[in-house]
């Protein structure tokens, strides 16, 4: 007996979702970025405060009575620097802790060994040229600690923690202590040798790499891996594909955003950081796909534009059950929560609504990309977190034009769902007729 396409589809997608979630590395990366997310939001809001308050060109400080605000501009810039330009260090530390915990190691030691390893890999001096004389000043350049170090940081941390974990399990490396020595002292000695070996290995190998290639490891990995991935992610083909895959999972009732987040979040955050860096240099931001973009234009009103279905149902549905669920789903939808409709209607494997549910977010993404392309909105520097209601999310990230684009998306979404609501009415009427016969 052959499985129906529907069963096969359910099985395959379910298995993929489980694999992604169960994968130690992908899961730890997801957790790491979830932990760091508030700092990204704060960092981008610090920049927003500069733009609207302390800047004497665009902010309130432009006006004489508010000139004093200019004084605190460096304070907001500092917050932005701390959260954006050193994020690779934070990510490496959190990922080291998260992986260490999963490997049943001391978490803080693992966070620290990941951080130290990373610092040995990046340049430890900054070149400065004064009157034609080149000087090397000790310090970490922001180019080594900012978002461009995310991928090398994640790869290195995975290798380092696995290596360290392996070393701690080797008996010869454990220092024998008399039984009378307190356990805490024994443990601290027993991590010493594995730590030493880990750091020496990483540092020596990365030094050899520098000598052979003339590039630091972080620069090389950025060039060959992160930068190409960023380009694909920012291209219409790349992002539309990711949105589509995410919606295929949602069609099964599996949280698609969660599944794609291990690859989406690092790249989206790197894009936001690049936009912020551009604005600080006085340039135009160029990277459209950020988490703010995702919240505002990919999943406004819920993944798959479910709020549009809710509205379409309230306008045209003749089914009492659909109208009832749409009433309860209206308010959550404004906050971007789709679950009441997805599970309550339900939309899971619902053939009537499968087309708009899987393609709605693809269409909305395309509309927003087009708006960026024609210059109607600029890529954002303020990331709005998930859960910010419609309109406000668009305004904070993209200004009044962003609100207009979001509105257009919602209207298009309702028009996209309406024919399928009418189809559902007809199917329902037919069912009722058959039942009465």
């Amino acid at each position: 007996m052959t499985m129906s396409f529907k069963d096969k589809f359910t099985d395959v997608m379910g298995a993929i979702a489980e694999k992604v979630d169960d994968n130690k590395y992908l899961n730890s990366i997801k957790t790491t970025f979830t932990i760091y997310m508030p700092f990204i939001v704060i960092g981008s809001f610090a920049l927003l405060f500069n733009v609207i308050l302390t800047s004497d060109k665009t902010g309130l400080a432009k006006f004489e009575p508010f000139k004093f605000l200019k004084v605190i501009e460096p304070a907001f810039t500092a917050i932005n620097f701390a959260t954006m330009n050193t994020m690779a260090l934070a990510i490496v530390f959190i990922l080291g802790m998260t992986l260490g915990k999963r490997n049943k190691q001391n978490e803080i030691i693992c966070g620290l060994v990941a951080l130290m390893s990373y610092i040995t890999v990046i340049p430890q001096s900054i070149k400065s040229v004064v009157d034609g004389v080149e000087n090397l000043i000790k310090g970490l350049p922001a180019s080594g600690t900012d978002a461009s170090g995310l991928f090398i940081g994640m790869i290195l941390t995975i290798l380092v923690i696995e290596f360290f974990t392996k070393l701690t399990s080797i008996d010869i490396l454990k220092i024998k202590m008399p039984a009378s020595v307190p356990a805490a002292i024994t443990t601290s000695f027993n991590t010493l040798i594995p730590l030493f070996i880990t750091l020496i290995t990483v540092s020596v190998l990365s030094r050899i790499f520098v000598n052979v290639t003339g590039l630091y490891l972080n620069e090389a990995i950025y060039k060959v891996l992160q930068s190409p991935l960023e380009s694909v992610f920012q291209s219409p083909g790349g992002i539309l594909f990711i949105v589509f895959i995410s919606q295929l999972f949602w069609l099964l009732g599996i949280h698609g955003g969660l599944i794609v987040s291990p690859i989406r979040n690092p790249l989206a955050i790197a894009a936001l950081a690049a936009n912020i860096a551009a604005v600080e240099k006085g340039l135009q931001p160029t990277e459209p796909i950020t988490l703010g973009f995702w919240v505002t234009f990919v999943v406004p009103g819920g993944a798959g534009l479910t709020l549009c279905l809710v509205i379409a149902n309230l306008i045209a549905s003749k089914r009492e059950d659909h109208r009832a669920i749409s009433k309860t789903a209206l308010i959550p939808g404004i906050f971007g929560i789709s679950e009441p409709v997805v599970f309550g209607l339900p939309l899971i494997l619902n053939p009537t609504f499968a087309i708009p549910f899987t393609l709605g977010s693809v269409v909305s993404t395309a509309i927003a990309l087009l708006a960026v392309e024609i210059g109607f909105i600029t890529p954002n520097v303020v990331d709005v977190p998930f859960g910010v209601p419609l309109g406000i999310s668009a305004f904070l990230g993209f200004g009044i034009n962003g609100v207009i684009v979001q509105l257009i998306i919602l209207v298009v979404g309702v028009l996209f769902y309406l024919p399928f609501v009418l189809l559902s009415n007809r199917q329902y009427a037919k069912e009722q007729l058959e039942r009465n016969e």
């Binding site: 679950e339 997805v342 599970f343």
Partner: protein
Amino acid sequence: MKIMLACALGMSTSILVEKMKEEAKKQGKDYKIWAVDQSLIEEELGNFDVLLLGPQIQHTLRKVKKIVGDQARVAVINPVDYGRGDAASILKFAEKLMEEGE
């Protein structure tokens, strides 16, 4: 009984939590009910008797069961109950899980 709900970010389940609290109060039952993001389940280990997963993270059930072990009962909420916010039915489900566990 302590009932914890988990989903992505804990947002959609938190809507449900309010409804369940109300329902429990109406039935005169003193339950502690709250929601968390799925990545925080391990941190909460020991704090809950029953863990209910939102259907959108049903694919994590096997992993979560491994994490929780025999420290609590774990199950996925019926999708339609979840979507329609049927607090009474979900409460009954949690109670049944608890009884079976004992």
